[in-house]
Amino acid sequence: MAATAAVLEGTPKIEIRGLGRSFNKKSNVPGTKTKEKFFALKDFNLAINKGEFVAIVGPSGCGKSTLLDLLVGLSKADEGQILIDGKAIKGPDLDRGIVLQGYALFPWRTVRRNIEFGLEIKGIPAKERAEISDKFIKLVDLVGFENHYPYELSGGMQQRVAIARALAYDPEVLLMDEPFAAVDAQTRETMQDELLTIWEKTGKTIIFVTHSIEEAVGLADRVAVICRSPGSVKEVVDVKLPRPRRIGDVRNTPDFSLVSHHVWELLQDKAPEEKTPRAQIDIGEEILPDTVI
């Protein structure tokens, strides 16, 4: 569908230009505050086309969640700007939906009412809300669980609700922060394939944050590799695997291994002052697919 790999032409859907975000450094003495700043993101540039599936991969603490916060509009950048359709974003809006790290479902709302939250804010009347939520309950395969509360669902099902909730108010851009990190391996693969199907059906622009190389390469059109301190794009890797794609079908192909290995190398290539031994690099369990070497 809209899944043709990236050739940047015209105005990109999202353009991140020279983005910088700093925080106050945490003090070593508890209870006191330092005025010292550090940049979690600095000089971050990335352009994303409409309908593209871009994965952002990097070690934990490299500023991935910070970037998504800025993309949603939950926090403000110190430097640079983010343009959507050529316009600078001002705050959260319904043109972007996010699936936050850890689902963040409302425990007092049933599946249906969780999905309808954004629709309520949009001021959509109850009857129409029900029709829309029905549609998305079907899409994420939760028929029969409409009136369940989150605690009654498995991790994978909760994740589906979070995805449906973010999709229900029909944002053009879907942001996802390590959505499958907390589910077991088998569920993860099912969910990854489901996400691909949803993307193929809806044609959304997706920015998918992960620390798993396999996941990034398996899902995305392009993989933006982020390096640590301060976080910025090291390289954007094109993934020229066929579409429509199923993770299980591409995982063992030579192309997949090549791209994965390249991404892996980029992640190993650390800044000189950092002497983190290989084994301690927090980059998920799948540092290197077995097929490479």
Partner: protein, 258 residues
Amino acid sequence: MKALNFVKRFLIAALPIIAFFVLWQIGSSHVPRGVISSPEKIAKAMWKAFIDPEHVLLWHTGQSLSRILRGYLLASVVGIVLGFALGTYFRSLEKLFLPFFRVCEKLNPFAIIPVFMILFGVGDKEKIAVVFWAAFWPIFFNTQEGAKSVDLSLVRSARSMGANRFKVFTGVIFPYTLPSIFTGLRLSSRVAFFMMVASETLGAINGLGWYYAQQRIVHKLSLIYGSILFITVLAILVNFLFVRLEKHFLVWKEAALK
């Protein structure tokens, strides 16, 4: 099957209570007269008080309940509003007020009664103030702590969908705090009840506490014990009401805890 289970559980729970009354009944005939009354006499006396054509007991009960309700409602409104204020948008004032509030909470409520009598004069106002004082703290502190601990990822989630401050409050902070508010309301309903009776025994012209004090003056043993039991039963009923309300409104919480 379910109903049978319920009856079984009920009987098991009721057994010690029944045993207590039976022992009391037996024991009362072996104790010198004028010290304790027997359950049988109490039941008879209370029954008479209930069907009394002038409704003396019921009228006094009504007086107490109406005062409790007024003081309690006032405490709920002020406690919940202040709790939310100091738990959310005015968190910066927390450091200023909370230590002082903690001291106030620790004041012995019984010691407060005479002070309120001087401040408000003996009467409805004073009684309502006593109930308010006792009921306010649990509601306030529970609301404040609940609102303070709101899950920030839920707030972020709501804000990412374009929720404004009002919707963040009604859609996230309020429902998140509801269980804590209920805890506060339940705790203070008990305190309110007992403080009212206490304040009425100290100085009043009507109410359940007054009724009880009257029975003491005329040394009507069966009614002294009777009104104590009656007050206890009322308190249990109120507690039961709260348990039901919680079950009804906090399905997601009740079930999540099991």
